[in-house]
Every structure is written in structure tokens, then in C-alpha cells.
Symmetry: C2
């Protein structure tokens, strides 16, 4: 740790972190049906053609397309109905010139059939014959072998968060088990002599632990497994011991640091002592969230978040969540967002990223983002917010009525 | 059931459903710390002021603001330091005129203090006295009692999906248990002689069950508890019996109906026979998804979804998910979406809502929505899509380059 730290931009903080920390993805094997929102850790290629037989997409008659050419209501094509293809079975029927077979949507085409005539475009003459009123081209009203996916085709890549339709698509190929990333274990430690567990009635001067539980829920959302390390007192030896223990049993440590300057100085020294190379960043140009510590200690990321709940959440989203995603090997998904018009001027300072909490208001046909102003030590600022807007590093603010992107919570 | 059904718009289908089905929310009591993404089923009012003591927001000296008026570097105010407020304790110190007490960020102000001077704006003279270089106004650098939330103030309303920050905010007030909605049980039944379980190797003419598992995952996402009812054969008595059993053990039934016309006719009759008033809608003006059945049977919603996976998912999102949300008493959250430019013309027919699957492509600084064309019976259409766009009932299509809203999966 160098003696003096300069405040870093978020991009510089990311850069330093990536320079000293290379995530390795730990994997496990699970049932595909249980894989919702898990991150795939293998390449899936299709073991088969899907479908693996030619299927009708309509109710009608399987025919040789050529037998229908030129057919019209005035001059229909007469075909002999030689049977019906039962659903879920291959047919023993083989069509010869002038033959047709009744087939249902999703049913298998019999040998010799090249298209399906929709039942609406036929007229039954008697039990053994139909009139076709409209021609079909070869390949019409059917799904070809491998049209959905072909044998050997890569279908899902590592890093994908599994969605409902992906589960269906894997099971359609008979892939009932997959390799996914194990959730990284994130130890969370709250600190401060004034902090008591939520179930305890605080005495004057004490406050309940908010951050442990908010950070645990944020960790779950990001795909990690939170491990609550408890509340460390304002005591160097005790905090050092609890931080070591928490880090030992986890893949990452998040400290919700005490808020006073002397306390922050102590945190940075303790974090720096947890392993090599130690503290990389002390202070980021973000409001709220400036007094942030980023470290890598013997191959594990360690974050010292500001104690204020709003700052802690902003920095979690900015630095911790992306690190969890990296440890999952997750590809970046498009962030959940809406466009809205800003309901009032918001000032910022150039050289600093500002994150402003907003609630959304539908006014006639437009969505408006209304800033929720409140000190960053007020948790209800976050409760009243539905998302936040970002004022970039080089901007001096955003004017009322401008369109902004709201990142939704 | 009237003999003839006319195709309904989605709005009409919602209207008919709401007319015959009034959801009652079943509740349960759970630990607040475990409540992420659950839907609150009570009104939370604050049992206390937060904070319940005056807290400093900086490191500095608690003072009587009047003692600092007019102070400047040239003419500082001299104050006597009478002690330090320890973190997490109420102080026995009482400030008199000309007194100051050392206080840390988050610490409790001593009696008689009306503001805090930041340590940066003071100079230590000796162990007992400081110079104040800048005046503070009363109330400066502190959080008042109840500034975050006041006793009796309503803080969270029923219907809210609990977010990480809400967990923190509840625990800050000592609310360690809350009443939330129980997930509605959604029975899911796949049908068709051609459908086999995913672990089974399909014979020619057979396909694996996709929809049960996709619909189960979609149900979980919407907040419901899926109950897989298995695969019913194309047999009226068997399907009827399985549908009755599935509905009996659940709050809602979702049938992934067979795709052939005769099969759909059978489904509609069986659903109609499950209870009063029976089938309300048979056919909606949506593509894909037209052959949809909506029913209420003895107070439980029943949906017959098209067998094609794309259609089934579109209709689930449009009709089933909102019904699950209603049974949770959930308020509508802003839908997750992005704005993008459409990469090619998409045609539609007036009088029909079209849902077009798209993938997203970043081209320079703009996000583009590229339609993923594919028959609605191809599951990989959904796998390649990152979301969908909606072409409204009265539109004939959307032109290339127009901005569209992409609803993200």
C-alpha cells in the first residue's frame, strides 16, 4: 500500500481490480429443470436434429406436392386417402402418385409426402377420396428435419444466464443435466460500535444493522451466496480477526466500513494486511460512495464499502456486482432500464459520477423520473426510489425535461 | 359455454377474466431477511422515529451554532473541548456556552449541541481548546430525529415486491417478520400422444416435453409455485381425469394444449366441464397465440395455451403472469425494457397484436432490435431472442429504423 492514495474513477478502479484479480469459475452439475437464472459453464452443442422427423404444422393431408399443381375450386385435384398418421407414431403408410394421408398438426409425414394441404383447402368426397382446391409447393406446411436446430450446432455458450425458454430448449434435446457456475461465496461484515443486530432494541446512540442484510440480498440478486460474518466492534484486533475469518471461508469479502475518518483509516490498514497485493484503490470519484476501498488479498477481492446505506448500494452495483458476475463467468446482460424525462434540474460536478435516486411517475403518456433527494445515510431514500440515473464523469448536470435512462432496481 | 366463440382482443380477454374471477391473496408470515422478491401483504407503518437520536453526519465538534457565528480564519471562535462522544453510546456531556465536544460520523449529539463543525474547519489549539474557522448554522451536519422516517408514518404498502433496500429499511425499524403473499400454486399439464418426458429417447413421431418445464420456470419468475401434472394422452377420459386432479391440488391450471383442431376442440370441452362459469374466451387476436382458451372453473382460472412453445410463452406473459400477480396482490412494477431501433421492416395485420421476437445488437452507439424470424413451433426462436416487441392492434407494422420498446426476457 502506498502511503497516499489518489481518488480513482470507476473505470480506473475496474482496471486496477482486473489487473490484479483473474476470476476462476468453479462449476457444478445440476438438473436442467432446476437451472433457472444459473450461469451456464459449458458449451452446449446439439446432440441431434430437432425435429428429427418431418412434422406437419397444420391439420390436413400429406401429399406429393406435384399432385396438387394447378388445382383450383373449379378444377380440383382428386386424391385417394390411403390412411391417417396417428400422433406420436411413425406411419407405415407410403404415398404413391395420387395418394394422400390424413395428418395432424405436429404429426410425422409418411414416406413419399413432400407437403401438407390444409384441411380448409380440401373437400371430402367420400371416405376414400378428397378434392384439393388449392395447390401446395414442396415443403409447404411442414417443419424439416433439423429446421429448429441441427446435430452439432452450438446452441448455448458459456456465461449465459439460463432463462425459461433455454430450459425448454435444452430438454427438447434430451439434455437433462448441465454444468453451471457455483455461486461465489461472499462474506459480509458490518462494523461499528454503534451497530446492533436488527432483533435487538437499540440503546441511545445505537442503530440496527441495515447493511448486512441489504448487501446479502444484493449478493443473491447478483448470483452470489452471502455469508453473514456478523458485526465487528471498533477495535483493531477484533476487526482484524473477524475479517480474516470471514475471508478464509469465502471467495470475496465485503466490509460495510465504519463511517468516521479514523475508522476508515483503520479499515484500510486492516484490509491491506489481509494479503498481497492489498489495497488498490482508496477513494472513487463517485457520489455517493467516495470513501470506497478496493483490494485484492491473496487472490480474493475485498471491498470496503461506505457505511451509509445509499453509498453502499451504489458502490455494490458499480464494483461488487460486476465482480460476482465475473466469478460466475457471466456474460453481460442488457441492464434493466426505462427511458424517462427528468422532472427537475440535477446539478453535478465535472470529474465525478453522480448517481441520483429517482422514482417514476406516469404523467399522461410520458414517464417522468423524479429525483428522490435525501442524504445518503437515509435508508428510506432508497425505499422511495425505483431506480437511479447516472450523471457522467464529464457532465455538470442534467436539465429538467431531458430524457434520461433510469436503471431499475 | 356458448356454441360459437368470437376471437377476443387481449383487453377483452382480461376484462372477461376479471369479471368472473376475484383473486384472494393467501398470506404467510416470514423472516424479513428471507423476503427478497416476495410480495408484501400488509401495510407497514413505522413503530419508531429513525434515527431516534440526533446523529452527526461528519467527523467534527458538536457545538452550539451561535458560538460560531462570525468565525473566520482571521477571527476564529475559541471553544473549550469538554470531552468526546463515544460511538454507540449516549453522552453524559452537556454543552454550555463556549463548549465543544468531539463527535464521530454517526455519533449521538450531546445535550445542548445544535450543530456540528467539520474537523477540517477547526484547528486544535491544545488538548482542551479549538479554533473554529467557519460558522455553522443550527441543524448543520446532523440528521434530526425522525428525518429518515417518523413514528406512525406508512413506509411500505401491500403489493410491493420486496427489494434488497426494503429489507434493510424494515430491519432498521426492528421489523424482523412480515406478512407476505403465498405463491399461488399453478398446476401445469402437457398434452399429446406425441409428447414424451425429456429423459426419454423419443421414437419416430415423438417429441420431448418442452412446455411443462418452460411454463414452470415462467411461473416461478412470475411469483407462483409450479406443480407439474405430467403428460396427458389424447384421450378424453384420461385428459379430463388428469385436468380435474391437477386443478384440485392447485389455485390455477395451465394446459399446454394439443395443437390439432380436433384436439383443441376436445380441450375446450374438457375445460368447460371443469366448473362454472367455464370457458370465457376461445381465441385471442394475438400472433402467435390465437388458439388460446381462458376459463374460470369454480373460482379458479384455467388457461389452455397453444402447444407451440413461442405461442405458449407469449400468451403466458400476456395472460397467465398477470393473473399470478393478481393472486399475489402485487402492484404492477415497471416492465424491464430497452429502447432500440428496429433493424428491418416488420409487417402486421390491423386488428391483431403481433409479438415479434428480437435479439439486440450494439452498433456503434445505438442499440438495434433485430427480428428473430422463425416459426412459432421452433423453440430456438426463443433461445435466440433477448426480448420481444409488440405491434399494437391498430398498426399495420413498424418500419425499419423506427425506435421500438423491447420487453426483455
Amino acid at each position: 500500500m502506498s502511503e497516499f492514495f489518489t481518488v480513482r474513477t470507476p473505470a480506473e478502479a475496474h482496471g486496477l481490480l482486473h489487473q490484479h484479480f483473474a476470476a476462476t469459475v468453479r462449476t457444478e452439475h445440476i438438473a436442467t429443470a432446476d437451472a433457472l437464472d444459473r450461469v451456464l459453464a459449458q458449451t452446449i452443442t446439439s446432440p441431434q436434429d430437432l425435429p428429427n422427423f418431418v412434422r406437419s404444422t397444420v391439420d390436413g393431408y400429406a401429399v406429393n406436392a406435384a399432385d396438387t399443381y394447378g388445382a383450383s375450386p373449379g378444377l380440383p385435384a382428386w386424391l385417394t386417402v390411403v390412411g391417417e398418421v396417428p400422433m406420436g407414431q411413425s406411419s407405415t403408410i407410403e404415398l404413391h402418385i395420387g395418394d394422400a394421408a390424413l395428418v395432424h398438426t405436429g404429426g410425422m409425414l409418411p414416406l413419399g409426402a413432400t407437403a401438407v394441404v390444409m384441411v380448409e383447402n380440401t373437400q371430402m368426397v367420400d371416405a376414400q377420396s378428397i378434392e384439393v382446391l388449392k395447390p401446395v409447393a414442396a415443403g409447404e406446411n411442414l417443419v424439416q428435419i433439423g429446421e429448429d436446430v441441427r446435430t452439432g450446432e452450438p446452441v448455448l455458450a458459456p456465461g449465459r444466464a439460463i432463462r425459461p425458454q433455454d430450459i425448454g430448449a435444452l430438454l427438447a434435446l434430451g439434455i437433462t443435466e448441465i454444468t453451471v457456475a457455483q455461486p461465489p461465496r461472499v462474506a459480509i461484515l458490518s462494523t461499528g460500535d454503534e451497530v446492533v443486530p436488527p432483533a435487538q432494541a437499540p440503546q441511545p446512540g445505537q442503530v440496527r444493522d441495515i447493511n448486512s442484510y441489504t448487501l446479502a440480498a444484493l449478493t443473491r440478486r447478483a448470483g452470489g451466496e452471502p455469508i453473514l460474518g456478523g458485526i465487528a466492534p471498533d477495535d483493531r484486533a477484533a476487526l482484524d480477526e473477524m475479517a480474516r475469518q470471514a475471508l478464509a471461508q469465502a471467495d470475496m469479502l465485503v466490509l460495510s466500513a465504519g463511517s468516521s475518518v479514523s475508522y476508515r483509516d483503520m479499515s484500510v490498514e486492516i484490509i491491506d494486511g489481509l494479503g498481497q497485493p492489498g489495497v488498490l484503490v482508496h477513494g472513487v470519484s463517485v457520489r455517493p460512495g467516495k470513501p470506497t476501498i478496493v483490494a485484492v488479498c491473496n487472490g480474493k477481492p475485498v471491498f470496503g464499502l461506505p457505511g451509509n446505506p445509499v453509498s453502499a448500494m451504489v458502490i455494490f452495483d458499480l464494483l461488487v456486482a460486476p465482480t460476482i458476475q465475473q466469478m460466475l463467468g457471466a456474460l453481460t446482460a442488457p441492464q434493466k432500464q426505462v427511458q424517462a424525462r427528468l422532472a427537475r434540474n440535477v446539478a453535478s460536478a465535472a470529474g465525478r459520477e453522480d448517481y441520483v435516486q429517482v422514482r417514476l411517475e406516469q404523467r399522461e403518456n410520458e414517464l417522468w423520473a423524479v429525483p428522490v433527494f435525501g442524504k445518503s445515510n437515509l435508508i428510506y431514500t432508497l425505499v422511495h426510489a425505483q431506480g437511479c440515473i447516472k450523471i457522467p464523469l464529464d457532465a455538470g448536470g442534467i436539465y429538467e425535461n431531458e430524457w434520461v435512462t433510469v436503471f431499475l432496481y
